[in-house]
């Protein structure tokens, strides 16, 4: 099945309800190959829930998730992973009692390429080097600090050689130097041909790095476009107006 503009991911009218709470309301967007799409929105807007639906952690009540032309709605996470989707978590989830190397090997073995342990080992060593964790390769994952754990999470996702990478707030809790480092890592990943969907709160960073942005508020998509377009969008400013500092930064960043 050929697609003219290679749309990697197509989220169509996704709705997700938890009991009485409508977390996602008919959210629709798509990403093209090689893009970096940023997802922003106030806390509780439904961003991580969106990831969970794409990833297969829970199925949506309505809507479809189409990955490279295939309907993957409702597939369990391990099937989604095998099709080439990798993901990091907002609150990192390292496999604590395993070493850094073992963590990344796991990512390589069970992902799209289904590698053997030896082949996965080679991939793991490359990726660990790429994210700069080589000196800590043999340490237990639980012994790393937060920034290092985030790199590990990233490495584990990358080791699967994904086609689509979902990054959930990779910059949270990092100091400005670490943020700059992480951003250059993300750019390098994109240069290798990976399509990236990233949730971020750090405005400057996400505006800087994204090709396009989708804005969610209370589960609805309220804006979509280039960083420039989005930051000038009155609806977006209004959504963030509860936090005047952010609105201010928006306006300044747009100039």
């Amino acid at each position: 099945m050929t697609t003219a503009t290679s749309v990697i991911l197509d989220a169509q009218k996704i709705s997700k309800r938890f009991g009485g709470l409508l977390a996602l309301d008919q959210v629709t967007f798509s990403i093209n190959a090689g893009e970096i799409l940023g997802i922003i929105g106030p806390n509780g807007a439904g961003k991580t829930t969106m990831f969970n639906v794409v990833n297969g952690v829970y199925p949506p009540q309505e809507g479809k998730v189409i990955f490279r032309g295939e309907d993957i709605t409702g597939l369990p996470p391990y099937d989604v992973s095998k099709r080439g989707v990798a993901r990091t978590h907002q609150v990192v989830r390292p496999l604590g009692e395993l070493t850094v190397r073992e963590n990344v090997i796991a990512g390589a073995c069970f992902g799209r390429e289904n590698l053997s342990l030896t082949a996965a080992g080679r991939v793991a060593d490359e990726v660990i080097d790429f994210v700069g964790l080589s000196p800590r390769k043999e340490l237990l994952a639980s012994k790393l600090n937060v920034a290092q754990k985030k790199r590990l999470e990233m490495a584990r996702a990358l080791a699967a050689h994904p086609i689509l990478l979902l990054l959930d707030e990779v910059l949270a809790g990092l100091n400005p130097n670490e943020v700059a480092d992480m951003l250059s890592v993300v750019r390098k990943i994109r240069e290798q041909g990976v399509t990236i969907l990233m949730i971020e709160h750090l405005m400057h960073a996400v505006m800087n790095i994204s090709d396009r942005i989708v804005v969610l508020d209370y589960g609805k998509k309220i804006a979509e476009g280039t960083p420039q377009q989005v930051s000038n969008n009155p609806k977006v400013i209004e959504a963030y107006l509860g936090d005047p500092k952010v609105a201010q930064r928006f306006l300044e960043g747009a100039r």
């Binding site: 369990p76 796991a106 073995c109």
Partner: protein
């Protein structure tokens, strides 16, 4: 399979074989009996280590497979004059099938719920067999001594049973090692650490867990078949004795869960400790004479408590934590 060439594995195997060979060479029957028990405990501990130590699912009731293997095999030997090795194998397969059948629904449970369910399963099986006439009900079954004639008499049969348990123990250790070093084993440990993250990575938890559970059932079933073949009698309270799998768990925790050599060390230490305590002179507390043999359970409990509170990783685990260089060599 280059894993089979791993020197560490061969060191363990050689040590076990060397020790196990002693009674065969010397013909010492009482040493043989002691070693039979220890090797059997090694099998039980190593097996429960697969579902508990590697996969993180604490199975309190693993003895149910020991009992099932024993009963299936006994039934075949008693009623169909099956050869003990064949009967043991069938017992093993039977128990494994049960494990897969039960495993699929029960392994969906998490943590404590699963642990409780395994107790429920064992107790259900025990009380069921207790009323199940084809298996002898509460009286159980016992061999007509003629059964042993097929093996050249009872004495010979005991030696054969011993050979059997040595083989089973070695196979269990090898399997335990191969699993740990395999991609499958890595998947199990990922499930143990964080099942949801493991799913996101691409691991199918149900399939992996059920296979692990099947492994943890097969070897105890073989051991059970050999144990009851040797004893010539089987009854529900002995076959499905919850204490046995609890002790297996204590051995795993003592030696170090998630390692290959941990359960072996744990089994050895626990058994020797118990024997020591049984022959020790009784304590005189509050005017009561407390023999250590009666305090068996209490001491197991105390050991477990200390381990759980202070040294969760067990002996081998602790070594691996304190000396990271050793980690690679002490599996």
């Amino acid at each position: 399979m280059k894993n089979l060439l791993n020197p560490f594995l061969w060191i363990i195997l050689v040590v076990v074989v060397a020790i196990a060979a002693v009674p065969i060479v010397t013909g010492d029957a009482s040493l043989r009996e002691t070693l039979f028990l220890i090797l059997m405990l090694v099998v039980l501990a190593s097996s429960v280590n697969i579902i508990t130590g590697y996969t993180g699912y604490v199975s309190f009731g693993n003895v149910v497979f020991f009992g099932l293997g024993g009963y299936f095999a006994f039934y075949l030997m008693q009623n169909y004059q099956a050869h003990f090795a064949f009967a043991a194998l069938i017992g093993g397969i039977g128990a494994t099938l049960v494990a897969v059948l039960i495993g699929v629904p029960v392994l969906r449970l998490r943590g404590a719920y699963f642990a409780l369910a395994t107790i429920g399963i064992n107790e259900a099986m025990r009380t069921f067999v207790n009323s199940f006439e084809p298996f002898g009900g509460s009286v159980g079954m016992f061999f007509n001594y003629e059964v042993y004639n097929a093996y050249g008499g009872a004495k010979n049969a005991l030696w054969l049973a011993y050979d059997g348990i040595v083989v089973v123990a070695l196979v269990t250790i090898v399997a335990s090692f191969l699993i740990k070093k395999s991609k499958f084993g890595l998947g199990l440990m990922a499930i143990r650490e964080d099942q949801d993250a493991a799913q996101v990575i691409g691991i199918n938890p149900v399939r992996s867990k059920v296979i692990a559970y099947a492994f943890s059932a097969f070897f105890p079933a073989l051991a059970g078949a050999l144990f009851f073949f040797k004893n010539g009698i089987i009854e529900p309270n002995v076959a499905f004795d919850l204490l046995r799998s609890i002790e297996a768990l204590v051995m795993v925790m003592l030696g170090g869960y998630g390692t290959v050599v941990g359960p072996v060390v744990g089994a050895l230490v626990y058994e020797r400790l118990s024997t020591l305590l049984i022959i020790a002179p009784p304590l005189n507390l509050f005017g009561m004479s407390l023999g250590f043999s009666q305090l068996h359970l209490a001491i197991a409990g105390l050991l477990l408590l200390i381990i759980v509170l202070f040294v969760t990783a067990g002996f081998v685990g602790w070594l691996r934590q304190q000396f990271p260089r050793v980690r690679r060599y002490l599996e």
